[in-house]
Structure formats: C-alpha cells, structure tokens
Subunit: 309 residues, 2 copies
DNA sequence: TTTTTGTTATAGTTTTTACCTATATACCCT
DNA sequence: AGGGTATATAGGTAAAAACTATAACAAAAA
C-alpha cells in the first residue's frame, strides 16, 4: 500500500516538473525522491513520470491520475484540520440522553449555560426512558445521560446532580390544601395516580406510596406528565409531579393545588452518567459541576444541588 | 505524516468495535495495531477510540472523523482502480497535435482505425501550426504530433509516415489541363498563389517555385486551404493543394481542374513525432505503423506510405 | 570537439518504524 | 478468588525510508 507521503511527492514533482527541485522543496534528498517515486509507480503499476535531464513531466497516465491524487491530499488536509479543531474535546458533538419526565423541564435552564461556558461544544439530545438510556450509554449510543437514581448497574461513572422534590397536586375543589402543606401521615390511604409503568417515575411513586401507606391507583395511568396533570385537573384524583415540571411554564397554577408534604422525604435524585473510561470524562464532570451551580443559582427554591457525592 | 494504512486500521477498528478482532481481520498482530492507532492519534492530536475490555468504541471526535477517513480510503481505492485501467498504456488519453493543412483531411481516415486497434485509447486532438506543434511536443503540451518534414530540431523521435503529392489546381476556364497533366518545365514563369507565411505549406510551395522557376504570387494569400481553393475557383490564379485535401469531400471536382505535374518531385512528407524518452514510444510507433498500413490500404492512389526510414 | 554543468539513477549505509513475540495489566464473569 | 479476555508495554527484528557518494547521461558552454 502506498503512503500519503509518496502521493505528495508525486504531486510536487508534477508541479515543479523536476525531481531535483521537488526534492529541495520537500526537504529531502534527491535519491530518496527518485526511489520513492519508483516504488509508487511500481505499486500502481503505472509509469507516472517521463524522466529526462531537461524537464521531468507527466505521462498521459500520470496526467490523469494527478487530479485524483491532488484530491486525496486535500482530503487528508481536511481531515487534519478537522482533527485540529476537535483536539479541543469541547469542540465536538456529544450525544446526551434525557428522560422524558426531566429533559423538557430541565434542559431549557441549563443548555444555554453549557454553551456559554463551552462555546464550541455541540449537543445532540434525545429523549428515552431511563432504563433504555442506561444501556444506551453503556453500548455507546449515547456519550452521557441525565438519569434518576438509583441506577440498575454500577458500571457507569455517576455524578449526582441534585434532588428534586415531588409535589402532590390536587384539584382545587378537593380543598386538600389549607396552606399548601400536608403532613406525611395524612397521605395514608389516599389514592394516588401515576404514570404508566414504563416510566421510572411510576416506580418512584410506587415506593413512596408503600412507605407512606398511600394507595397507587392503577386504573388510570398517564403516558406523560401532561396527561397525568390533565387527569388531576379534571378531578380524577391526586398525583405526584416533579417540582421542575411544576415550575415550568406548562403548569398553570390557578388550575391546581400544589401541596408540599411535610416530614417525608418525597423526592427523586438526578445524576449525570457516562462511561468510566470515556477520554472526556473530565469534560463531563465539569458539565456536572456547571449544572449544579446553575441549579444553586437559579432554582434553589425548587431543587437541592448535591455537590459532594 | 500519517499513512493510509493507519487510517484503514482506524476504520476497521471502528467497524469491529474491537482492536483484537480488527487485528485479526487485518492480518496483523494486536500490539502492532495498538501502537499504530496510538501514533495516529498522536499525529492527529485527538483521541479517536475509547478503549475498554468490553467494547472499544469511538470517541465523539473519532465519530466525526470517521466519515472523512472513510472517504479518504475510498478515494484511494478509486485512484488504485484508475491506475489499474491506465496500466494498459493504450487506455489513456493522449494529446495529438495536427497541422491545419493536414488534420481535417487525414484524421477522418485514420482515427476510426486507431480506435479499432486500441479500443480504450482516447485522443485529444488540437490544431496548431507545425512550428508551434514541434515546440508543443517538446515542452509536453502534446504527447505526439503529425508534422510535415523536415523538422526544425532533431530532439524528437520521428516516424516518417507517407508522401503526399501537391496538385496544381486551376480554374476550368484557364484550360491548362489538356489531359490532367503538365510537364515540370511548363511551370516556369507561372504565377502561383499560396497560403500566408505562417503556414508550413507556404514555405513548401516557395521551395517548389524556386526549383521549377514558377513565381510565388504574394499579392493574395489564403489563410486556409478552403479560402485558397476559393480564390482559384474565382479565377484569381492557380495554386498547389495537398492531395489529401483534394481527395476529401470538401473539394468539388466540377469547379476546378486538378493537374498532376510530371517529372517533378512535388510533394510533402508527413511524420508522427514524439519525445524520444516517452515511456509509451512503442505505442506511438505502432500507431505510426497503423497509419502507414491504413494509407497503403485505402489511399494508395493518393499518397505513398513510407515504411522504412 | 571536449569540457563543464546539471539532472536522474544506482550503490552502500544509517536511521526509523512497522511489525513480531512475550508479558504485564486491567477488567469481566463465573 | 481465579480463569478468561482485551489492551498496553517491552524488547527485538526486519523492512523501508532516509542519507551520502558516485555513476551515467544529456545539454550547454568552451
């Protein structure tokens, strides 16, 4: 197999019409160039150059191969240039997976900050259920993902980000919320609506119900936070919704009572995960830090950043 | 500078997602592949692969470089393939220069034969005055040329092709041609029209006039054989025209008398010329043979092929 | 003509590097 | 904990890419 060098040599000789001066301009010895050209010709099975003492010029075959060779070299230069810009790892496109119950409500808050800090970094974002996301990061479909804790496996690097309370929402007419608060014990026996079981939030709510004695109503299950919320608005029951969802503009406060449960640890935790041996794990962990800082700065009334774990 | 091999290696690893199996498929040892990849990465200044025991996959940067690398390889394959077809020298495009007083009247007769014999050979034909053609072959603007003899220089390979008589043409009403023949002596004092002096034919006719005592009329000079012929038709005088021109369909026999001069060597000779050290001189000389044979076969009434000189 | 000069090819060496085998190291899985 | 598998490293060899020196040759100059 020929080398890019040899092709470059060929190109230079074609340009200068002389092996001698081409060798000078390439900064190599003339015999080296002669033999390299000879081996290139041998490999290609074609005589490229018409050697003579006066001028060395292209053969008809060489003339036709030259443009292809030139294109090859320019393609190589392009690859070099691209590698150069990518050598700053923060200049490449990273694939980020997000769960549907978090992404739309969190990303608008943090993506601008990320682009501000790493101005040439690009994100390719896709939504998927957390269970699939975890495997997706492992098998390389994603470079990093936002995921609720705990994870199934333990093979991934995990940067815990923040704690997000789940708020009980109830129809106005239910009159549950005197002052927007409820004590944990009052949950006991209450019938709670949730998302369908393919969502991680389903399990999370299930655990909370088991702990507090509430009852998970499986007759009606939402397929998204929006449909779940709509079911509450229509008076079909109460539900736990993530604080970030409620904070987002999708929520219209006049339609629902939002109730904070006192005394109970009703929340979920989110982390940024990526492969342990990703060469850019330092970048990812600084993105995690950036997210925590952003949360602390702009959303500390809603979520609790976790800096040390 | 990286090598094409290394890029191919990179491509294979990306495909198999494993250094081990890529090494197998490439037929090299695994450590070789590891080090080659490392040097490629060092040269590019970018980490291309995320090594791990489970699967080795691309980094974000590697993912973006892979398509460019793949294109580079495919470009190389293209170059190889082209070289392969060109390795048969008769499959390339050769640049042929012809003089305006010969090309249009000879080429239609010989080009089909050339393509029949060398079916993948292509010709790029241009017309230029012989004086420029000779230099054009020397400096590489042409690969070969048809030229009238004698040549100025002696640095080119010359394959003499054939002798072409020059015929005297006269207006019908001049009544010069009793039986289409004239003896050399009768030319003496006759006023002959010619082409302008940039054409080689001008000099040739001039020499003939000097030898036979005819007088070259420089008051009216044609810029092409067609205008010269037209001047004769219009009764402005007589002229020498090449036999191949007269034989071509451009000539309409009813308009002119064509007169053969007896006893005098009134002709020009044509040769195929090319650079001495052209790597394809054997091809060119067999093209010369082909032309001679074609002349002998189809035009022996007009021209005299010259096989031995 | 002969000499000089400049260009390419060849010979002989050195240095580099691509490749190998053997082994270390790390991780996964049972 | 240990066997199995993947990659990395070490050390050595052989191929090839580089150099210097020189031959061979053609063109230009003397």
């Amino acid at each position: 197999m020929a080398t890019l060098k040899q092709i470059q040599y060929f190109q230079m000789v074609a340009e200068t019409q002389s092996i001698r001066s081409a060798a000078d301009r390439l900064g190599i010895a003339q015999p080296t160039l002669s033999t390299q050209l000879a081996t290139l010709e041998k490999n290609l099975g074609v005589t490229l150059l018409e050697r003579s003492r006066r001028v060395t010029q292209l053969t008809p075959a060489g003339r036709q191969l030259l443009p292809v060779a030139a294109q090859l070299i320019s393609q190589w230069r392009e690859l070099e240039a691209l590698a150069n810009t990518l050598s700053d790892t923060a200049a490449t496109t990273h694939r980020l997976g997000v769960p549907p119950t978090l992404g739309p409500y969190l990303l608008p808050n943090i993506v601008p900050s990320i682009h501000e800090r790493f101005d040439r970094l690009k994100l390719y974002v896709r939504e998927e259920p957390p269970t699939q996301l975890e495997g997706g990061v492992l098998d390389g479909r994603y470079d990093l993902a936002l995921l609720p804790l705990p994870l199934r496996g333990d093979k991934l690097a995990v940067d815990v980000l923040f704690r997000e309370p789940l708020m009980l929402v109830a129809p106005k007419e239910a009159g549950l919320a005197r002052d927007g608060k409820l004590r944990e014990e009052q949950l006991s026996g209450m019938s709670i609506m949730g998302l369908d079981e393919r969502h991680q939030l389903h399990q999370e709510v299930q655990r909370i119900c088991e702990r507090t004695g509430a009852k998970l109503n499986r007759d009606y299950e939402g397929t998204s936070l929006d449909t779940l919320r709509q079911m509450v608005v229509m008076g079909m029951g109460v539900a736990f919704l993530p604080a970030l969802y409620i904070r987002s503009e999708i929520h219209r406060p006049e339609e629902l009572d939002v109730i904070h449960i006192e005394g109970a640890a009703i929340y979920r935790e989110h982390a940024l995960v990526y492969r342990q041996n990703s060469p850019v794990r330092r970048l990812y962990s600084s993105i995690a830090t950036l997210i925590r800082e952003r949360m602390a700065h702009a959303m500390s009334d809603v979520v609790t950043p976790i800096f040390d774990r």
